[in-house]
């Protein structure tokens, strides 16, 4: 019984293949792997990747050599004696100013800046983009235009006004705090605290949040604009409100754009140097600023291996981010950027 079934099955299979075979070959002609086009394409790709990978290679091998070996001058040769001492030193021992605890301090500062800045700016941008695309109000277009203009104003112009802004807002909040603190606590000395925005991590977080807004609101708005209005109307008829629609309909569809925005914000804020220098003090410098201070320190001899290790360490976060989300990033860019 089973055999007959099997036979029938093969019979049916060959029967369905037969007409296709008798038709002769189908589909486009297979191309040779070594066609001129492929040689050009892969040749170019190879050259470009060498161009970008070579510096990375040099940095890695240099960071694994000791100073004696570096002085011999063979930049491209692999290390004879692999040593991780430069990495340890860069992370935990290198000195900037009076502090000799390496990049680790900067790393944690950067993390403490990065996480709230990214969360805050993305949350605000997402909600604004959602409002501007699906809950248009009188003047929402004007609002959006202003925001766009904001994206094109050079940062440098705003540096000093923001210093003043942070100082004044901090002062104002201090006044409120000191004026009202008796209401909440009677402890001796409780009212002498100050709200310090300028020069503190929280000030820098505010700055990053504000500067991240224009581009991210634009991204989110355009992405949401591509979600059909009818979907949104259907949800309203079904009784979902502003937050209900956002959380249960829009958010589950938004992974690609959240990834894009996340990458832009994480790498942008991590790589920031200017705001870090201007708006914080030495003990709370982010990693990039500290890296600069280590690499450019004028005292003592230049330790190339430590510098290389420090640079690699600093670049690690964006590198990891790109590595794990590259594909999603491309997809999200394509989804968000096209439609206006």
């Amino acid at each position: 019984m089973a055999n007959i079934d099997a036979l029938n099955a093969t019979g049916a299979a060959t029967a369905s293949v037969a007409p296709r075979l008798s038709d002769g070959p189908r589909g486009p002609k297979p191309k040779s792997a070594l066609s001129p086009r492929n040689i050009m394409l892969y040749g170019t790709l190879l050259i470009v990747s060498i161009y970008y990978l070579l510096p990375l290679y040099v940095m890695i091998v240099t960071s694994l050599k000791d100073m004696a070996e570096i002085r011999m001058g063979n930049v491209f040769s692999p290390p004879v004696d692999v040593t991780f001492q430069p990495w340890v030193k860069a992370w935990a021992e290198a000195c900037t100013g009076v502090n000799c605890d390496g990049l680790s301090r900067g790393f944690w500062n950067s993390v403490r800046i990065l996480i709230p800045s990214v969360l805050l700016s993305m949350t605000i941008a997402l909600i604004s983009g959602y409002t501007l695309s699906k809950w248009k109000f009188k003047g929402s277009e004007v609002f959006f235009t202003i925001l766009l203009v904001g994206a094109f104003i050079p940062y440098q112009v705003m540096l000093y006004p923001i210093v003043i802004g942070l100082r004044e807002v901090g002062g104002f909040m201090t006044d409120i705090y000191q004026g009202t603190c008796g209401l909440f606590t009677a402890a001796e000395g409780a009212c002498r605290g100050r709200v310090q925005l300028f020069g503190s991590l929280s000030g820098l977080v505010i700055v990053h949040t504000i500067f991240g807004l224009p581009i991210n609101v634009l991204l989110f708005r355009n992405y949401f604009a591509s979600i059909p209005d009818e979907l949104f109307k259907a949800a309203r008829v079904d009784g979902a409100g502003f937050w209900g629609i956002l959380i249960r309909i829009i958010l589950p569809m938004s992974l690609p754009i959240i990834v894009v925005s996340g990458i832009i914000q994480v790498t942008g804020i991590w790589n920031d140097f200017l705001f870090g220098v201007v708006y914080t003090r030495a003990e709370s410098y982010p990693m990039t600023v500290q890296l600069n201070n280590i690499v450019n320190s004028v005292q003592g001899i230049k330790e190339y291996n430590v510098n290389m290790a420090a640079t690699l360490l600093t670049g690690l976060v964006p590198l990891v981010v790109y590595f794990f989300s590259g594909k999603l990033f491309v997809r999200g860019i394509a989804a968000g950027a096209v439609k206006g």
């Binding site: 009818e230 979907l231 109307k233 259907a234 949800a235 309203r236 008829v237 079904d238 009784g239 569809m253």
Partner: protein, 360 residues
């Protein structure tokens, strides 16, 4: 109390300077299937969105079931809406889609379950309940979209061109199903379309819209046989009506050297002699073949173009110097250059005042 399900009073809707709806009044009866028909951009969807509460109206009032809902939220109006693009929530299963509204309204779980399975049964989508919308065909998606309104036990169904994304065959099938559904549920349905066949077959009454106004509201029969103005006469019917301009003298219509008896035509009011008028004659009301002998009026025309369409044949001829369309049956054997004997019964025609474009 009236037995009106939906009442629209003096509705105005402006988008900035664009007045999309103006002073619109419409009463829709309990359990009625009303079709809003009109060409693209005439404001059908806008009107529907106003009824649904998805657009903030500029002026006027909307009443549903004797309650003023002008400012009520869409979900509080007792309406369900079905969209052209289906608008299913892509990340939810069919079950999730159907129950979303009920979950928002905090209906108890077992009640949700009961209503979902009942709707699934009515619409025959039971086996699809655990699929995502992406894994459904167009017709199935539209059924789910209808189901989403069905589960909420609404008083009024609003449809915005629900079938226009489907192919012709499926459209015809779903049309019949919609009619069956309406007979079964007996609730009010307001249905937007620009497909005349859908309108004629589904509607209890049709509202023909143009430029944000209702040109005529009536049963399909009234709309087809007694159009109240030139626009409606021209809009309804395919191929459309033949129009000839001329004058009315007593019970005779004259156009050039052609004079036609109007015996049996029911004027809506007294006429002045010599009134300039436009007569509209439907191509399918032109009498051909053996029946010509009995026609109240006979004439001979020259055949210009013949378009065979299978079930019938459209003949373009020449009458009073103007192209004149005649619908003959599919077997007709006429060709270019033939002269054709036709009969006209003007009792079935429509006469319009040329100036005001209103029915005489």
């Amino acid at each position: 109390m009236t037995n009106n399900s939906v009442e629209i009073r003096d509705l105005d809707l402006h988008f900035g300077a664009v007045k999309v709806l103006q002073q619109l009044n419409l009463d829709i009866h309990e359990g009625e299937f009303l079709v809003l028909l009109g060409s693209s951009g005439c404001g059908k969807s806008t009107l529907l969105n106003c009824i649904a509460g998805l657009l903030e109206i500029t002026d006027g009032q909307i009443w549903i079931k004797g309650e003023n809902v002008t400012w009520a939220e869409p979900s509080q109006r007792g309406i369900g809406m079905v969209f052209q693009s289906y608008a299913l929530y892509p990340q939810m299963t069919v079950r999730g889609n159907l129950s979303f509204g009920l979950r928002n309204a905090r209906v108890p779980k077992d009640e949700i379950e009961r209503r979902v399975s009942r709707a699934a049964e009515v619409l025959q989508i039971g086996p699809l309940l655990d699929r995502k919308p992406a894994a459904l065909s167009g017709g199935q998606r539209q059924r789910v979209a209808i189901g989403r309104a069905l589960v909420r036990d609404v008083d009024v169904f609003l449809f915005d061109e629900p079938l226009s994304n489907l192919d012709a065959k499926l459209r015809a099938d779903l049309r019949v199903e919609l009619k069956r559904l309406h007979n079964q549920l007996e609730n009010t349905m307001i249905y937007v379309t620009h497909d005349q066949v859908e309108a004629m077959t589904l509607a209890d009454r049709i509202a023909i819209m143009k430029g944000g106004k209702i040109m005529q509201l009536g049963t399909p029969d009234e709309i087809y046989n007694r159009p109240q103005n030139l626009y409606v006469a021209d809009f309804i019917g395919s191929p459309s009506m033949n129009f000839i301009q001329g004058k009315v003298n007593g019970m005779t219509f004259t156009a050039g050297d052609l004079s036609m008896p109007l015996d049996g035509y029911q004027f809506s009011g007294p006429q002045t002699d010599g009134q300039t008028a436009t007569i509209g004659i439907r191509p399918e009301h032109v009498i051909t073949g053996e029946l010509v002998a009995n026609a109240p009026m006979r004439t001979t025309v020259n055949v210009d173009i013949v378009e065979p369409m299978g079930s019938d044949t459209l003949v373009w001829a020449d009458l009073a110097g103007k192209p004149f369309r005649i619908r003959m049956d599919g077997q007709a054997t006429v060709s270019h250059g033939d002269s054709l004997e036709i009969g006209l019964d003007l009792a079935r025609s429509s006469l319009f005042d040329t100036q005001s474009e209103l029915r005489l």
